[in-house]
Amino acid sequence: MGLSIKKSLAPFLFIIILLVIWELATRMLAIPTWLLPAPSLISKEMITSWPTFQQHFFATTQLAVIGFIIGVSFGLLLALMLHMFPRIRATIYPLLIMSQNIPIIVLAPLLVIWFGFGIFPKILVIILVCFFPIVIATLDGLAQTHHELMHYMQMAGASKQQIFFKLEFPHALAAIFSGVKIAATYSVMGAVISEWLGANRGIGLYMTLAQSSFRTDRVFVAIVFIMLLCLCFFTIILAIEHLLVKGTKKGSAEYE
C-alpha cells in the first residue's frame, strides 16, 4: 500500500505542476478566456454549473453504461461463437478487422438517417465501438490457451465442455479484461459522439452548446467530467478484474 502511494505521487505532482504552469501562463500572457480559460476559472465553473450540468452528466453515464453492457455481451457472445466454429471465424474475422477501418464518426450520421434521433442509434454507436476490442481480445485469449495445460486436460479425459469451462475460458479471462477496459473508455467516447449528432440531454449536447457560444470554460468542464467518468469506469472494471482473475499477473501467460 505504502509503495502504491509512493508510486502515484510522482504523476500526481506532475499534474499539479502542469496546472500551475497553465494557470500562470494564462495570467501572465493575458490569454483571453474564450481562447484558453485558466484552471481556476474552469474549476469555479465546474462548481457553479453543476446544478444544470448534472442532468447532462447522468444522461451520458446512463447511455454509456447501457451501450457498454450490451456491447460487451454482444462481443463476448460473438467471440465465443466464432471460437466454437472455426470455419465461421475464418470467414468473418477479416471482415471484422476491415469494419474497424470505418471511423465511427462517419458512420454516426448514417445511423441518424436510418434510425432518427432517439436512443437506439446512440446505443448502436456505443455497441459498435465497444464490441470490437472485446471480440478481438476474447478470440486471442481463447486461442492462446497453453498447450501443456491442454495436453493434461486431454490426457486426463476432459470433455470439450470441461476443457472450455475449466481451462480455455478462465485462461482467456485476463485477456478479456484488457478488452473490457478499452471498451469502457470507448463507450464514454461513443456516448459523447452520438450526442453531438442530436440529443436533448447529455455531455455531448452541453459541449455543442458551449462551443457555439464560445464558452470555452464550459467545454473544459465537459472534458474534465468525461475524464472523470472514464476513470470511474476503469476503476470499477479494475476492481472486478481483481476479484475474478486470480493467480496470474494480468495479461501474462505465465502458467507453471
Binding site: E148, L149, H151, Y152, M153, Q154, M155, A156, G157, A158, S159, Q162, K166, L167, P170, H171, L173, V245, K246, G247, T248, E254, Y255, E256
Partner: protein, 245 residues
C-alpha cells in the same frame, strides 16, 4: 488379474513405424517403468493409452476391457507440472477428480498434509518451488479415481537433489496407496530404484528389447543406490541398452 494389458500394439505415422508389436502388462498394484532413449515412442504409447491416438494394430485392456480410443481411463502426470495458474493448490489437486465427478475433499486434505503442502494450500502455483509443484501434480493424479497412474518423465526437469527427494517421497506415498503405476523415464537409476519391473524399449521403431525384474526389497532407501547388487543391475541394464548400437 492384470490391471493393464498391452497386446501387440503397433502404431505408425505415415511410413514411419513408431511402435512395433509392444506386449507387456502392469499388474494390480505394480510399479512398471518404461525405459528408453528420447524419441523411442514413449509418449506415443501414453497417447495411445490416453485414447488420444488409435493404434494400427493390437489392443489395450484395463481389467480385461478394451480401452482403445477411450479418453480418461488413466490418471496422468505430465512432464511439466501443468498446474492451473488461476487455481490455488487445493483447487489444483482436485482437478483430475473433478473431471470424473465429485472430488473427495477430506482425502485431498490428507494428501496435502502428506505432501507437505498444507501451508501453501491456498497459494497459487507461481509461489511454489519446482519440487512442490511436482508433488502437487502427483497428488492431482493420485486423487483421480482411475486405478492406473501414468507418469511421463515427471522428475526429468528437477535438479539431482530434488529428484532423489521426490523419488523417495513418491515411493513412500505409493506404498500407502498402492495404485498400479506406469512410469516413463530415461534414467536407468530412477527406473531401477522405483520399479518392480522395467521394460526396455529400442528406438526406431520401439520394440521391447528386454524386461527386467530386479526384485529389490521394499521399502527402499537411498542407500540401495550404492549397493553392489544395485550397481550390477545398473551395468546389466546399461549394456542391454547399448547392445547392437
Amino acid at each position: 488379474m492384470s490391471n493393464l494389458v498391452i497386446k501387440q500394439l503397433s502404431k505408425s505415422f505415415g511410413s514411419k513405424i513408431v511402435l512395433d508389436q509392444l506386449c507387456f502388462d502392469v499388474k494390480l498394484g505394480e510399479f512398471v517403468s518404461i525405459l528408453g532413449p528420447s524419441g523411442s515412442g514413449k509418449s506415443t504409447l501414453f497417447h495411445l493409452i490416453g485414447g488420444r491416438y488409435l493404434p494400427d494394430q493390437g489392443d489395450i485392456l484395463i481389467d480385461n476391457k478394451s480401452i482403445v480410443g477411450q479418453a480418461g481411463q488413466m490418471s496422468y502426470m505430465p512432464q511439466s507440472p501443468s498446474l492451473f495458474p488461476w487455481r490455488t493448490i487445493r483447487e489444483n489437486i482436485v482437478l483430475g477428480a473433478e473431471l470424473k465427478g465429485k472430488p473427495d475433499l477430506a482425502l485431498a486434505e490428507q494428501m496435502l498434509k502428506k505432501a507437505g503442502l498444507t501451508e501453501v494450500a491456498d497459494a497459487y502455483p507461481s509461489a511454489l518451488s519446482g519440487g512442490m509443484k511436482q508433488r502437487a501434480a502427483f497428488i492431482r493424479a493420485l486423487l483421480s479415481p482411475q486405478d492406473l497412474l501414468c507418469l511421463d518423465e515427471p522428475f526429468s526437469a528437477l535438479d539431482e537433489f530434488t529428484r532423489l527427494d521426490m523419488q523417495n517421497w513418491l515411493l513412500s506415498i505409493w506404498q500407502t496407496y498402492r495404485k498400479s503405476v506406469l512410469f516413463i523415464t530415461h534414467s536407468i537409476e530412477e527406473a531401477l530404484y522405483l520399479s518392480d519391473r522395467i521394460v526396455i524399449l529400442s528406438t526406431n521403431p520401439a520394440r521391447i528389447k528386454a524386461v527386467f525384474e530386479p526384485k529389490f526389497e521394499r521399502p527402499r532407501a537411498p542407500e540401495l543406490l550404492l549397493t553392489d547388487d544395485f550397481l550390477a543391475w545398473k551395468r546389466r541394464v546399461y549394456q542391454t541398452i547399448k547392445a547392437d548400437h
